[in-house]
Amino acid sequence: MLRDLSALKENVVSLASFVVIIVIWWVVATFGSIPAFILPSPVAVVSATLERAVDGLLWSDSLASASRVLIGFLIAAATALPLGILMGASPLARAAAEPLIGFIRYMPVSAFLPLTLIWAGIEEAQKWLLIWIGTFFSQTMMFMDAVKRVPVDLLNVGHTLGFSKAKILRRIILPWAMPGIWDALRITLAWSWSWLILAELVAAGMGLGYRMSVDQRYLRTAEIFSAVIFIGLIGLASDQMMKFAGRKLFSWAEGGKL
């Protein structure tokens, strides 16, 4: 009972802070002397959102953006998984690839934008490429880390049971690393959205980022606010879903692994 009550209190407090911010925003936008193209009121943002939802633009843009994120993210994950696992399991592969990947990871992703345009044009492939550059290297390092952390004693159990290398990988290393791999996927999915918006702002014919670049030209600030908040909500929802699924799938890893 006590726990329930404090959880309820927590929710009330977090909700209250949202309400307070929105009220302040509303007051400043309505009674302050700031022009609407700088700070639109929350009411204007909601009505802009509703308008876009009714005429369907919101949904077609969201769909275009979400499918780009999903494809780019999946390509990155599919390429990073084998390499990350290999690097985690083999010191030789690690020695060969870790310094290089570790270095590339510190290059600013946004600086690759011109190159993606030269290499992949302005169509879908360019969006995927930027997402790939923005997530692949970090994913690889995170997957490697998850695999590397398998306790030696568990590997030794496999050895003493006469397991082959492949069997140790399948039966011990991968199950152990899965929660860490899932977490890395969850974190990098959120990044993928940032890189996609960046790519769409520069070159696209549809998508939430593209729409914002058009809105900016016409000073439709309420629409831009609406898009930013909407992207945030999509990110929050997908993150919560991944978290929930992770808890269901890997309940054994809750509160420490051993």
Binding site: P151, D153, L154, N156, V157, H159, T160, L161, G162, K167, R171, I172, P175, W176, F250, W252, A253, G255, K257, L258
Partner: protein, 257 residues
């Protein structure tokens, strides 16, 4: 236990140097040991004297720098299912249930139904028949080690290697585990190499207690534990038990640790 038993496990001048071949740390120096079939040998020594190194070499997890290890007259070159190992740390797979952890040792050996039967048999043996569906995180340390023992016995290794398996347990649990281990050993007829830094544990369990010197590990003293079997916890207070314990203790103190 007597001269009629064939030799099961032999370590012949086993030397282990970590790191550089000449200047590296010498953990074992021409270590000799021979263990008869179905006997229980305890290796006792101060922390860092090379006990785990010796056991890991026998298990095939570590390579000797020189010397030979033989099981049933055949040279050991790597890990194998003829030798089961119980480690000091908890080594159950946390994503598997207790029963699945025992079955883990039998994957690809039997079909699923047969695996389950063998797993349950061995869980009953260690008194955990009712915990088949639990996860390791729901078990106490002693229970986890019992599952690990069940897992090691399930595939019938010829030799059981135990590296301070009860070292992390509280004294009461340790006593219970020692009695349980002796009961299983009596029933199963197993060759056991048991490592401990606890002299009382060695005296209670073993047929022979072998005391190692500080690094590099060499055998300093070996005594036959001629206490009657089966042994129960009440034997710990007997004069005979205490005398054997004193004998080992004085040898330890003579070294001046």
């Amino acid at each position: 236990m007597n001269a009629a038993q064939p030799v099961k496990l032999v370590l012949d001048r086993v030397t282990k140097r970590f790191g550089d071949a000449t200047t590296g740390l010498l953990a074992l120096d021409k270590f000799d040991l021979s263990i008869d079939e179905n006997s229980f040998v305890a290796l006792v020594g101060p922390s860092g004297c090379g006990k785990s190194t010796a056991l890991n070499i026998v298990a095939g997890l570590e390579q000797a720098s020189s010397g030979i290890i033989m099981v049933d007259g055949r040279e050991v070159t790597g890990p194998g299912r003829d030798r089961g190992v119980v480690f000091q740390s908890y080594t159950l797979m946390p994503w598997l249930t207790v029963a699945e952890n025992v079955e883990f040792a039998l994957i690809d050996e039997f079909d699923k139904a047969r695996r389950r039967v063998i797993a349950l048999e061995h869980l009953q043996l260690v008194g955990l028949g009712d915990f088949a569906g639990h996860y390791p995180s729901q078990l106490s340390g002693g229970m986890r080690q019992r599952v690990a023992i069940a897992r090691s016995l399930s595939y019938r290794p010829k030799v059981l290697l135990m590296d301070e398996p009860f070292g992390a347990l509280d004294a009461m649990t340790r006593y219970q585990m020692q009695e349980l281990l002796l009961r299983i050993w009596d029933e199963h007829k197993l060759t056991v190499l048991f490592i401990t830094h606890d002299i009382e544990e060695a005296v209670f369990l073993a047929d022979r207690a072998i005391l190692m010197s500080a690094r590099p590990g060499r055998i300093k003293l070996e005594i036959a534990i001629d206490l009657p079997r089966p042994r129960g916890n009440e034997i710990r207070t007997s004069e005979h038990f205490q005398r054997l314990k004193r004998e080992l203790l004085s040898a330890v103190n003579a070294a001046g640790h």
